[in-house]
Symmetry: none
Subunit: 418 residues, 2 copies
């Protein structure tokens, strides 16, 4: 199966918005072994859109179009689809009732503009949009598939995952299978990881591997191929085992795992309560933990102790310690962790204090200096990190990741050193 | 001048790399008022690249190609250019000496593969690459311009800024200038905003407008054109004024503003201290506020009161109120805001409590139900929101945005109703 992707929208052409939709669709279709023959971006202009439909639909088996399906005047895709397939618009009851129920839930009145979104091309199967009002269309003609989806990424992704991809997968006959997995590490540099793995060609034995670094750590993406899915999966599993034997303790999870998810599972399994005191990360660690559904089972409370007063009043940090060592110090981090554990009657207290920048650094305490504190029933300790970057948001990400990794290693009894 | 952008490379098509090159080029050409008629991505396949050259070169004044100029087997762009223009490759002395000097600096020996990069199409003007070995080409034929640049972003950008853009600017006789701006709204649906603006064609008077929705609100992008830059800007200003007259109170900022940035400015200007008590948003609001450099000037503290115990102990919420109304209620939101204001001795207390899902909803208190509380020296109030989505992260984004918008309107004395 050969596919072409069309993204409609001036904002992409003029570089105001990155084309993440085409990247997402390209990645997902590739996973299904569908060949992407090309991808194009066109402006919100009917004539050009129609020409692009004609050019690409004839030479591909699948045409996937995003954008231009909203309710306002600049959304012209639906009209182009009607012209292209020489069909007409009809009101779809199911789509209308889904739009109505969305408006009822939001307690807003349905306007004519929104009601008009239930009009879909007669020859199309509508794709309900559970995250917005613009439906998608699935059209089949002469053994070819034409799909239209809204351009809002979180609406489009949901419709791809739950409708388009499963429907495409059923269609495909395959004789070669590719599987891949991401092993996620943090708190170890790419080069150290690479050296620890030894002879990588031998280890991979024909499979492929990429190192993908970010501020959250290094992802190792392994890709294996086989004649059957099981064959490919067996190869992949074997390589994963070999890698884990070398660098297993740095691997906090795989694929879509996040460090906060891995920690949540550990805490819930063990019935432990956590409380987190943040200074420099300003709520990011609590935010990441509460992104996990069920976080109320383990997260007792959090405090963003931005001011010194908050550190002293809420966390019982000793005022003299702040005077003597500064708010960004090993001892204050330790006392913050101790304090939040005590006041919340939790099993573990975690804390962070540091300088995120871009301003506020000194030669002895530069931007990027961070202390993480952790206290459980057995020990109360703190550790220093130096991230060496001036970027405030990157430093917040790195500090939150370091604190969560310190918590993970504490829970599993793994040392924090390389 | 009308331009088309071609990006060559499988890695873009299969979604492994985001097409930041096309976005950068689109943005820069738009700044020069060059119209981008389209953008396409093609695989590293000679036949397809040649077809794309033929299709796009004839219908545009400028064709800008990136990628496939490296020294390895999968870099086929140069060969395609030779075929397309029916020319031949010749060694260019200036390019060769720049490659040689790069290798000397890096203390590496020049290989034949690298030497071959000094071969350029006879009809082309070479563009020296000061950051890498692959030169670019500038070709003119029949009043049309054809440009090839390497795909490595920092090499391409440097060559664009220092060679291509200045050369294009000299060419352009400008008799038309385009300017644009984004007006950012939140807490009002796209359709309501559209209806409130009345007769939009009349309002725009030839200018263009796009509505770009996300979970953070609706962006209105206005684009105006004029014979001089000042003329275009005047038209834009006039439209902006008309729009603000209709829906001004929903507009929290423009262009790159974020709601947290706008609020930070207001708080700092007025010398006000803020404290934020979060239940369901779990640290997200504090996190967003502390993303702003200088947030320590106004953010006194934050509390993530996830458990009822934390609400009672830290925020002095009345235990009976929680028993009677539930933790997710108007009255608890109000008391949380009152409590955090009091304990922190801040000027404003802001609070959020709600059900983010995907689980935990009931028929009377569904997922997506959120209460925001706000207290200042004059008033202490709370408001109900219903987001109607099951997606936890989206609900957190929406709840944080609603709370920050309620704070903004409080600071400016604007009502929260449509």
């Amino acid at each position: 199966m050969k596919a072409h992707i069309i993204t409609i929208g001036d904002e992409i052409l003029i570089g105001q918005t990155l084309n993440t939709n085409a990247a997402f669709i390209g990645e997902r279709l590739t996973q299904l072994q569908i060949k992407i023959s090309g991808s194009s971006v066109v402006p919100d202009v009917e004539k050009i859109i129609l020409e692009e439909f004609e050019r690409t639909f004839s030479s591909n088996d699948l045409l996937l179009v995003t954008g231009g399906l909203g309710p306002t005047h600049d959304d012209v895709t639906r009209k182009c689809v009607v012209d292209f397939f020489k069909t007409e618009l009809v009101e779809d009851e199911e789509v209308l009732s889904s739009i109505k129920s969305l408006f009822e839930t939001r307690r807003r009145e349905l306007t004519d503009t929104n009601r008009s979104q239930a009009l879909i091309p007669k020859i199309a199967t509508p794709i309900i949009n559970s995250r917005g009002t613009a439906p998608g269309f699935w059209i089949e003609k002469e053994d070819k598939i034409f799909v239209c989806l809204p351009g809002v990424p979180y609406e489009m992704k949901n419709m791809m995952e739950n409708f388009i991809l499963p429907k495409l997968e059923k269609r495909l006959e395959r004789n070669s299978f590719i599987v891949n997995t991401d092993l996620l590490t943090t708190a170890i540099p790419e080069s150290v990881l690479f050296d620890r793995l030894g002879n990588i060609e031998k280890l991979l034995n024909g499979a492929k591997m990429a190192f993908l670094p970010s501020q959250f750590g290094v992802k190792m993406r392994i890709t294996a191929q086989g004649e059957t899915e099981k064959d490919a999966q067996n190869k992949l599993d074997e390589i994963e085992q070999k890698i884990r034997a070398q660098v297993g303790r740095f691997i906090y999870g795989k694929d879509d795992d996040t460090l906060e998810y891995v920690i949540s599972k550990l805490l819930i399994e063990r019935g432990l309560k956590l409380a987190v005191a943040e200074s420099c990360t300003g709520g990011l660690i609590n935010n990441r933990l509460t992104n996990i559904s069920g976080s109320s089972q383990f997260l007792e409370r959090g405090i963003v102790a931005y001011s010194n007063a908050a550190k002293v009043e809420l966390l019982k940090v000793d005022e003299d310690t702040i005077q003597k060592n500064g708010a960004v110090s090993l001892e204050v981090a330790r006392q913050m962790a101790e304090g939040i554990k005590a006041i919340s009657a939790s099993d573990i207290g975690l804390s962070v204090t540091g300088i995120m920048g871009p301003t506020g650094g000194t030669s002895s305490k530069p931007v990027g200096l961070v202390y993480v504190g952790i206290c459980d029933d057995k020990l109360c300790t703190a550790k220093e990190f130096r991230f060496g970057s001036e970027d405030r948001l990157l430093n917040k990400d790195r500090a939150s990741q370091a604190a969560l990794e310190m918590l993970r290693r504490n829970l599993l009894g793994i040392s924090y050193d390389d």
